[in-house]
Amino acid sequence: MTLALALCVAACLVVNVALGAIAIHPWAVVGVIGDHLGVGVGGVATLEEDAVIWQIRMPRALLALLVGAGLGIAGAALQGIFRNPLADPGLIGISGGASVGAAAGIVLGVGALGATALPLLAAVGGVVAAGVVYALARHEGRTDVVTLLLTGLAVNAIGAAAVGYLTFAADEDQLQDIVFWMLGSLGGATWETVRVVLPFVLAGLVGIPLFARALNLLTLGEREAAHLGVSTERTRLVLILLCALCAGGAVAAAGVISFIGLIVPHLVRLAAGPDHHVVLPASALGGAALLLLADLGARTLVVPQEMPLGILTGLLGGPFFLWLLHRNRREHGDWG
């Protein structure tokens, strides 16, 4: 499953890079990537194609891959922590908190402090929001979905208000930055962006799977997990931090891209069962593949315009979420 998904991600990457205003033969894409990695594979590309691929499309595709993987794995982990299949970095407020952090960063001009300052601030915003939602939505070791979603809604609303105020307070250039970024787009991707986001997403991709066993046990309940030897408090804290880093980094780079963290783990569970040893890596890979495809759609569906990525994932994710709620209610007789 994981191997098949990895191949799928590679294929999506090549297709994403190949298609666009100038279509390039996929084999030539493989050739260019091979060239730059010092491996002699694939076809031959012209210098112009090489520049388009390596300077423009490749960083963007890699950023899509990182952001998708980060959101996918964070979603899978959050669903495990909250013991609830409806948790998602966007719905429960992490993305909202992160966007406040990022917008504040833009307005305060923290970019001058170094390229990592902005994603770091976004991650801090994510952690704070997650902490608030977590503290408010839990009652006696259980998380009630309605409370969870409503708390997320409220935190997102507060976040939106804060971002709104920051937009108001921003000057012309900052305003453009904020708006561009809020719509959720990978359009600004450069190798620099990729380098900055990489450690954040990597923290999640490496750190979160270490908790696969604990997440499996947590699905039984917190007390039950503790009885089976999980230090639940520490586990939850570290996991939420990792998710916030991961999702916060993704938000800082690409704006609020909703539903990836919700849809992907679900599809993975449907296909491969609930074991987090599989669900976590597969959600990362699935998220990467889905976002690569979504970004391809965003770039090519309304040529020569570009559709903001957040709109596209919202269009896909909204109906999926409705279907999920419907199914959940039919099977369990309630919203939880």
Binding site: A226, H227, G229
Partner: protein
């Protein structure tokens, strides 16, 4: 003297002004089944939570295998005692066998999965709890009684010297109530120390070595069935007039409610 597997020393638990468990002393030895009975809200589950280490006592202490509970890691506790909760809600579609296999996790080393011995233990305990045929079923689709027995198999798979069971028979039909309590006896025969919260006095009378009666947070008595379940004591603890007679098929007390309310 058989060593004490689990001891509570002057154990109390208070929340605000309410005292849920009040100065309980209890010693459970290896090979012994101790039943806890009492009216609703008497503090049975709270006492079990204190014994399990879920709750920190306001006063007194719990000793597990001679060493105080406080300060021990979750993992070291998980190898020393297993806890069966009243009810487990699982929203993710793990199979019954996967749930039972989770019981092996305290014995795992690093990130390695289950070994051959772990799989043997899982299969054996599933047969013991009469859930072998449910192995491939998704846990959320099980009936209450089936889920309760799968959970019991999970607790058994933990292979701990101390077992704390919170109403293991509550969701079960008559046959499975007997099956589970026989199993509890069998485990004690193998050297386990078992504390089991029960609602059914006669189930406790038939299968426990000693019965602890709780009322308003206090352990009123803890004695063998014939001594614990006297008409006067049961009447006082439950505030209900009862008749105590002899079980027609076993030398154990049989308690039934008498018409009318005492006092």
């Amino acid at each position: 003297m058989i060593p004490a597997a689990l001891e509570a020393v002057d154990l109390s638990h208070r929340i605000g002004v309410r005292t849920l468990v009040d100065g309980v002393d209890l010693t459970v030895r290896c090979g012994e089944v101790v039943g806890l009975v009492g009216p609703n809200g008497a503090g049975k589950s709270t006492l079990l939570g204190l014994l399990a280490g879920d709750l920190s006592p306001s006063a007194g202490e719990v000793r597990l295998g001679g060493a105080p509970l406080r300060g021990r890691s979750a993992r070291s506790l998980a190898r020393a005692r297993a806890v069966l909760p009243q009810r487990t809600v699982l929203r993710f579609g793990f199979t019954a066998r996967e749930v039972v296999a989770m019981g092996r996790s305290p014995h795992g080393r690093g990130v390695a999965g289950l070994g051959a011995r772990d799989h043997d233990v899982v299969d054996a305990q599933m047969r013991r709890a009469d859930v072998a045929e449910l192995a491939g079923r998704r846990f959320p689709t099980l009936s209450g009684g089936e889920a309760a027995r799968v959970n019991l198999a999970r607790v058994l798979a933990q292979e701990t010297p101390v077992l704390l069971l919170d109403e293991p028979t509550a969701a079960l039909d008559l046959r499975h109530q007997e099956l589970v309590m026989d199993l509890v006896r069998e485990l004690a025969g193998e050297g386990a120390a078992v504390v089991v919260v029960l609602h059914d006095l006669n189930l406790a009378a038939a299968h426990c070595d000693r019965i602890g009666l709780m009322r308003e947070g206090r352990l009123v008595a803890c004695a063998p069935p014939w001594e614990a379940l006297t008409r006067a004591r049961v009447g006082e603890v439950f505030d209900q007039d009862v008749v105590v007679t002899r079980h027609p098929a076993r030398d154990r007390p049989l308690v039934v409610a008498a018409p009318g309310v005492s006092g």
